[in-house]
């Protein structure tokens, strides 16, 4: 039976046990802490599992409204018709089997004083440490005309699931000779190279099925991750099918009009046949409710423990945190989840946390059998994570065999991270 203990009870328990020279098993039972994790994506699920593996006596609760997780990595392949959405979906059964309590509810309020999280159904969960891994939400105020209703007409497909399938259907319905526009926000945003991977795979779909069509990128940035690799691949594979209007060419999108499917930039209007608009982003809503997000919309953290700089005993991992040099990605969220778990285990035991060293890897598939990658290592430096040596990017000039091998490695990476997180 699990009797909820307050922190004071636990502390008194340890003191009493110590004076009575208690048997170690009692000491362990009494010192077990309660950790609540909000958000069951690559960050939250990895963190919950790592906590349970590090100390089976910890009481771990994972609050996540979706019964099935849909992965963003590889969802661009779903859009391009190269993969079924089912291959992206994972359940929480194995986490439950690990002894993690999975609550299929949205977290709605957080009381940092009482250390309690309330779910949508009213249930309250007390914690010693809270981990927020809420991912992103869209910053609709930053893009006039865009909201949830608009996303049904001009899909973002930036949270995998129904939106992914909607964009795929729109591509399938588009006549040959049409234009697909992709509007890309400035950083920070989730998975910075992903819009360019998407442009590539949409071009692949069009080249195969609707060869007179075009991809138009309206970009809020001048330069982007792995740009030379992408641009070389585009030229090689798709000729002039992909056109990009960068920030300094007037590519920044300032508003949209869903009634006419118009994308308005600082210097022009575009009415594409398919409008994939990725809005500006910020930390998931619950981070704001917890007062863990600052004026940027993201969450400042201590990079050693991932503890919020704004609220005590709350840790923020994944896309929602201000990670400095670490790009917001599934690999980074997973690595952060594990490092955060290690820090929490130490903090609950009264030990000093170790300094984490994180590795992030990012694969991009620009056509079936054509991939490249970026790997980076990161360590705390002051208030943020800084990239340290040991990172690598695929060479710009490389034979197709290497691109094919990297595409295979990408698939293997996906199998590994999803098995590690959900399997």
């Amino acid at each position: 039976m699990n009797v909820p203990v307050t922190r004071r009870d636990a502390v008194l328990g340890i003191a009493a046990a110590a004076t009575l020279l208690a048997v170690p098993s009692i000491l362990r039972a009494q010192s077990a802490g309660r950790v609540v994790v909000v958000g069951g994506g690559f960050g939250g699920a990895a963190c919950a599992r790592a906590l349970k593996r590090a100390d089976a006596t910890l009481q771990i609760t994972l609050i996540e409204p979706n019964k099935t997780f849909t992965s963003c990595p590889f969802s661009n392949e779903v859009i391009a018709g190269l993969r079924d959405i089912e291959a992206q979906q994972f359940g929480y059964e194995k986490l439950k089997a690990d002894g993690i309590t999975v609550v299929p509810q949205a977290a709605t309020t957080i009381d940092a004083q009482k250390r309690s999280v309330t779910a949508a159904d009213g249930a309250a969960f007390a914690y010693d440490r809270l981990v927020l891994s809420p991912g992103i939400d869209f910053h609709f105020e930053a893009l006039p005309g865009y909201d949830d209703a608009t996303s049904e007409k001009m899909p973002h497909a930036w949270k995998a699931g129904a939106q992914t399938l909607l964009l795929r259907r729109q591509l399938e319905a588009m006549p040959d000779g049409g234009t697909v526009a992709i509007a890309i926000p400035a950083n920070p945003s989730r998975c910075p190279p992903a819009p360019y991977e998407r442009a590539s795979l949409i071009a692949h779909y069009l080249k195969t099925k609707k060869p007179r069509s075009k991809v138009l990128i309206l970009d809020g940035k001048d330069s982007f991750s792995q740009q030379r690799l992408f641009e070389k691949a585009w030229k090689e594979l798709y000729g002039d099918m992909i056109e990009r209007i960068a920030l300094s060419q007037g590519g920044r999108v300032t508003s949209v009009d869903p009634a006419t499917r118009t994308i308005v930039t600082e210097f022009g209007n575009y009415t594409p046949d398919v409008a994939n608009v990725v809005p500006p982003q910020r930390a998931g809503r619950i981070a704001g409710i917890a007062s863990a997000a600052d004026a940027t919309g993201w969450c400042p953290i201590d990079p050693v423990t991932f503890e919020s700089k704004l609220v005590q005993n709350i840790h923020v991992i994944g896309d929602a945190c201000l990670g400095g040099g670490i790009p917001k990605s599934a690999a980074a969220a997973s690595a952060q989840g594990k490092a955060c778990a290690a820090a929490i285990v130490n903090l609950l035991a009264g030990r000093a946390p170790d300094t984490p060293r994180l590795t992030g890897v990012c694969y991009n598939i620009v056509a079936p059998g054509y991939g490249f990658s970026l790997a980076g290592n990161y360590q705390p430096k002051g208030d943020i994570f800084a990239e340290i040596e040991g990172g690598a990017t695929s060479p710009v000039d490389a034979p197709r065999e290497l691109r094919a091998r990297e595409a295979t490695e990408a698939e293997r990476w996906f199998q590994t991270i999803t098995a590690d997180t959900f399997g």
Binding site: D222, L247, S248, Q249, G250, E266, F267, G268
Partner: protein, 105 residues
């Protein structure tokens, strides 16, 4: 690409309108050195001007701290139909111009 201009094609008399301009320019500060230590000479736009039917309505001086591809946006009152003329002047005899028409009703 020379310059991008955004002037409303139409406006009502008395409307406050926004004008946006963006021009491609390296805006080399003159403070940077090459790998072998040589100073990279300054190459910036130093001045921007906008005329509305011949009358100067906006002017800006630009300095080395301004980033490449300077973007300037400003407001004016739509008084009469006619022409906006834009001019950028810079180091090494740099000069560039553009224009846009407006109909005021």
């Amino acid at each position: 690409m020379a310059a991008l201009i955004n002037v409303p094609a139409k406006a009502r008399r008395g409307d406050v309108i926004e004008i946006r301009t963006l021009t491609s320019h390296i805006m080399e500060t003159g403070f940077r050195h090459t790998a072998d230590g040589a100073l990279v000479p300054r190459d910036i736009i130093t001045s921007f001007m906008c005329r509305y039917n011949g009358t100067e309505i906006f002017r800006a001086d630009l300095f080395p701290a301004i980033a490449a591809n300077p973007y300037l946006s400003f407001f004016t009152v739509a008084k009469e139909s006619g022409k906006f003329e834009f001019e950028w002047i810079g180091d090494n005899g740099y000069s560039s111009s553009a224009s846009a028409m407006i109909t005021v009703e």
